[in-house]
């Protein structure tokens, strides 16, 4: 039987590679739906629409917890002493350096709105506790100051600030999770 030698790939090699490539792409395409289905579904996303919160009922020194997208947020009406304590800290000494002014809206310094899940492993810290009078996380011992900044313990960052706007002086609207595009 006469055989023809091909120094380069012949037609069969091409078919082999093309079939393999198609199978690999097809396999990856078939896997994607099974990964994608793990993501939040349309109903979950729709249920996470922006909410408005009335601040009028929160007395000075008081705070409320609200639940949005299944997660709690603190809304705290800070006293003058608490605001001063937060402003007087040398920012350079902080683990996650951030001045108090960057964590509140201008002209609304008494209102501090933060996510209420500890940045360590997600527990809800207890208000008005800990070494710095802000929050103390009972799970792993993180201390936050009256600006919600991490001061001591395992949490890596400050309590994050969600995206929100003042609709009026006594009403805010939370529009996005911390760190999301406004």
């Amino acid at each position: 039987m006469a055989s023809v030698q091909h120094a380069e790939g012949d037609r069969r090699d091409f078919l082999f590679l093309a079939t393999g490539a198609a199978a690999a792409v097809g396999g990856a395409a078939a896997i994607w739906p099974f990964i994608s289905q793990l993501a939040p579904d349309a109903g979950t996303i729709a249920a996470g629409a922006p909410i408005e919160i009335d601040l009028a009922s929160i007395p000075a020194g008081g705070q409320i917890k609200i639940l949005w997208r299944g997660k709690p947020y603190f809304v705290r009406n800070r006293t003058d002493a608490e605001i001063k304590a937060a402003q007087d800290v040398d920012v350079k000494t902080l683990r996650d350096p951030q001045p108090d002014a960057a964590r509140v809206k201008e002209g609304h310094a008494k209102w501090l709105i933060t996510a209420a899940n500890c940045t360590h492993l997600g527990c809800v810290p207890l208000g008005n506790q800990g070494y710095y009078g802000g929050w103390f996380c009972p799970c792993h011992g993180s201390h936050f100051d009256t600006s919600g900044r991490i001061r001591k313990g395992p949490a890596p960052t400050n309590l994050p600030i969600p995206q929100y706007t003042f609709v009026s002086d006594s009403r805010i609207r939370i529009t996005g999770a911390p760190g999301s595009a406004a």
């Binding site: 793990l38 939040p40 760190g179």
Partner: protein, 437 residues
């Protein structure tokens, strides 16, 4: 140890089956004629005990799934319904929840037995690694199962553990969202956890088959740590010797298990998990089930950033890495231990370090149950260091510096105590371990 098969079917049906699907031959070769070292002690019955527990968990679990509802509004009540309304539901649930703890007790004894007798050493590395994989799957299954009753500890345990993944740089938050199926631990999370909790035990069963297969290729290690040299002199057939010994061990273990399930069913649980899950209130003290406590202590031990000059590992990622490393290091154990001698009965120094390591693990477990405050945080860090030191410092160096006792020439010699008095230094030491049990 898997010599050629001696199975000879006698009946007509037996011969017909043997030439089509030789399942009876497999059972005969694996569980009847299979030779086991004649010096195995009762610590070697835990493999059978764990196998029984796996089946028991699957049976009770399948039954519970017939009455359970994986919905955030209904899950808690459906579990209470099992406890109050379903015939024998209370018993089946207590057997399942305490069965998980018993499963871990048995597996920890099984693992520490392997550490003591050097069962991970050549040629049993693959056998050992398969065991580590089973252990990982067990931990995942136990964690998922604990979430299902949807009590306070279920929810907050799930929050803490899923948030571990957020420590991964760049993709962490996305991974967590994909685990949750939402913006928090909620309905989609509970639903998929139920699905996976049902799946994983069957994956464990699959790896157990590989584990037993690997075991039957290399043969069992034994308290003397010397390999079988003469099958006739060193071994006995699995049935009746190992079968009966396993059965005796199992009976005693089950007596302990059912005593626990009937008389102390909530001792190992947390009262706060009888409070329905509430995402607005964290329990004052979140602790995992007892079998996770040593790793939980390691997770919390790293409270500081680790500066590696080129880059810095934040404390949160550091804790997560340390915890996963504490498990991963087990897989490398066959190559970390440099000693050629397997059994600690012939390793005077390793025997002491082994018991010190047991104490370290117990201490870590105790620290994991304590709040994250001084002095527990400092102690956690010290014992985390000691935990890793056993694997990364002690075992590699001990093989180089330790003078082992003289090994018996064979398992038969070890059983007959022939080594006794062979050398003055070893007098009385060599024969002791085989008589313990």
């Amino acid at each position: 140890m898997q010599g050629h098969s001696h199975y000879t079917p006698t009946s007509g049906i037996g011969k017909w089956m043997d030439s089509r699907l030789p399942l009876p031959r497999l059972v005969y070769d694996s569980f009847i004629a299979y030779p086991v070292p004649k010096n195995l002690n009762y610590f070697y019955t835990f493999g059978a005990i764990i196998s029984f527990m796996l089946v028991a968990q699957i049976v009770t679990g399948v039954v519970l799934a017939m009455h359970y509802t994986a919905h955030v509004d209904l899950a808690f009540n459906s579990v209470e319904k099992i406890m109050r309304d379903v015939n024998y539901g209370w018993m089946i649930r207590y057997l399942h929840s305490n069965g998980a703890s018993m499963f871990f007790i048995a597996v920890y004894i099984h693992i520490f037995r392997g550490l003591y007798y050097g069962s991970y050493k050549a040629p049993r590395e693959v056998l050992w690694i398969l065991g580590v994989i089973i252990y990982l799957l067990m931990m995942a299954t136990a964690f998922l199962g604990y979430v299902l009753p949807w009590g306070q500890m279920s929810l907050w345990g799930a929050v803490v553990i899923t948030n571990l993944f957020s420590a991964i740089p760049l993709v962490g938050p996305t991974i967590v969202e994909f685990l949750w199926g939402g913006y928090s631990v909620d309905q989609p999370t509970l639903n998929r956890f139920f699905s996976l909790h049902y799946l994983l035990p069957f994956m464990i069963a699959g790896v157990v088959v590989l584990h037993v297969w690997a075991l039957h290729v290399t043969g069992q290690n034994n308290p003397a740590g010397v390999e079988v040299k003469d099958v006739k002199k060193d071994t006995v057939p699995f049935t009746p010797y190992a079968t009966i010994k396993d059965a005796v061990g199992l009976v005693f273990f089950l007596a302990f298990f059912v005593w626990f399930a009937f008389f102390q069913p909530n001792y190992l649980g947390h009262a706060v998990n009888y409070v329905p899950a509430d995402p607005l209130v964290t329990p004052p003290h979140i602790v995992p089930e007892w079998y996770f406590l040593p790793f939980y202590a390691i997770l919390r031990a790293i409270t500081f950033d680790i500066n590696l000059i080129i880059f810095t590992i934040p404390s949160k990622l550091g804790g997560v890495l340390a915890m996963f490393a504490a498990i991963a290091v087990l897989a490398f154990l066959p190559w970390l231990d440099t000693s050629k001698v397997k059994s600690s009965a012939y390793r005077p120094l390793h025997k002491q370090f082994f018991w010190a390591f047991v104490v370290v693990c117990v201490m870590l477990g105790w620290l994991g149950s304590k709040p994250a405050e001084y002095p527990y945080t400092v102690l956690s860090l010290i014992f985390t260091g000691l935990y890793f030191a056993y694997f990364l410092v002690v075992l590699p160096l001990l093989g180089l510096f330790e003078t082992p006792r003289q090994l018996p020439a064979s398992i038969a010699d070890a059983v007959l105590g022939k080594n006794r008095g062979a050398a003055p230094v070893t007098a009385g030491a060599a024969a002791a371990p085989q008589t313990k049990g």
